[in-house]
Amino acid sequence: MSTTKGAQEIIEAFQEVPQNVKLELLLEYSEALPALPERYEDHPELLERVEECQSPVYLFVEVDAETTVHIFLTAPDEAPTTKGFASILQSALDQEKAETVLSFDESFVDALGITDLVSPLRIRGLQGMLMRIKRQVKEKML
């Protein structure tokens, strides 16, 4: 099991604020999700749909020659919760080594302490995104 500096910072940020501020924090993350680079904006077919999410979320993972992982995610503005989750995963895992991402500790999702605030469906959406990121990394390492 591994974690990342980004993931630790996110967990700390969520754990140090009271429950009612956690949603504000999630909203801040949703607003910070970077836009897709042009090469994906023009080629939506390259992106993978995250079926576990209630809202249309698409992701694409690149692994470069140094085995560094680059994660691209997009979610609609009308779905800020989903977008916030996408942004959190992006911040936690982007620019990390493939082996770190593959062994990334999935209890990260529980450690955020938001399972009481959002519906189980949403949490499953977040887990689904993480699962798909790992799977794409694995495929690209073959």
Binding site: E51, Q54, D77, P80, T81, T82, D116, L117, V118
Partner: protein, 300 residues
């Protein structure tokens, strides 16, 4: 009733035009005393990204549900909730939200369990308001706490439980989920994850009338004539019917409950909020797969 019924030819034919308002009406009446706007969305962060000025948020997940049991909050909790939102018993509540007002009608249904008199749905919901270029704000309303009375929840009139459904086979029952959920090919809505039912299919004798048949492309409700065709002619429901509607967790069937009860004026309509996540996981209840409603099961 504190506000007159909106005079709008689009609503005039509905059985209860006092239960629906247009975005224009909301715009004209914003800020008037006695009117409270309540936004209720599937995405609980959406309100924070911008809402109609003065609207308060109700979170269906954390505020309407009991924190531990699979049930709704009780009378004291509801009194505390509505008081904290600045809502009085006599207020006109206008509800609106995302997803064609699924959660707005769901919140209305929960509020009606406590008998709040004057509740109206904003036709077309949040999407229509935005589509029309109307303003949103991130400013939180300054609401003074009220003293909403403690009212005992009435589960006998508009709410159905599993045992009620077991005695209802053969009487009008509407499955409002998508066709693939009805036939049992999928356990959940297309594009949605499974929410914990272990079997697929539908309750025997329930007719498939997906909730979405009741709305236009802009998420507004269809005309009475169109709704009569769908529910009275095609689904065989009449004023004397005793109807139960269900979906997956009771939110989409709240939408159909609203249509049947307030737009068509069917007096007896109940929402089975346990819905498929309860029925499809319950041991020894009968389930039908495929497109046909199925026969009345024997021995249940």
């Amino acid at each position: 009733m504190s506000f007159p019924v909106e005079s709008n030819p689009r609503f005039a034919d509905y059985a209860h035009p006092e239960a629906i308002v247009s975005t224009q009406w909301v715009s004209e009446n914003l800020g008037k005393p006695g009117l409270v706007l309540v936004e209720c969305n599937e995405d609980i962060l959406l309100y924070s990204t911008g809402h109609i000025e003065g609207a308060v948020k109700v979170d269906w997940h954390t505020e309407l549900n009991h924190p531990d049991n699979r049930d709704y909050i009780d009378g004291e909790q509801m009194a505390a909730l509505l008081s904290s939102k600045g809502i009085s018993r006599e207020d006109t509540i206008v509800l609106y939200g995302d997803k064609s007002n699924w959660w707005a009608t769901y919140a209305m249904w929960v509020f009606k369990l406590f008998g709040h008199e004057d509740i109206r749905i904003m036709d077309g919901g949040r999407a229509k308001w935005i589509e029309e270029g109307r303003e949103l704000t991130k400013d939180l309303p300054t609401t003074a706490a009220t003293n909403y009375p403690v009212v005992t929840r009435d589960d006998s009139t508009i709410r159905a439980f599993k045992d009620d459904v077991l005695e209802h086979f053969g009487k009008p029952m509407i499955d409002v989920r998508s066709p693939l959920e009805y036939t049992g090919e999928k356990l959940h809505m297309p594009d949605y994850p499974n929410e914990g039912a272990s079997r697929g299919g539908h309750i025997p004798t329930a007719r498939s009338v997906p909730w979405s048949k009741a709305v236009n492309e802009d998420q507004t409700f269809k005309t009475l004539e169109e709704l009569n065709q769908i529910y009275r002619v095609d689904a065989g429901i009449s004023d004397s019917s005793d109807v139960i509607a269900y979906c997956r967790i009771g939110e989409r069937s709240s939408h159909t409950w609203f249509v049947l009860r307030y737009l068509l004026g069917i007096p007896k309509v109940r929402n089975y909020d346990g819905s498929w996540t309860e029925w499809g996981s319950t041991v020894r209840v009968p389930i039908v797969k495929g497109e046909e409603p199925g026969a009345v099961p024997v021995g249940f």
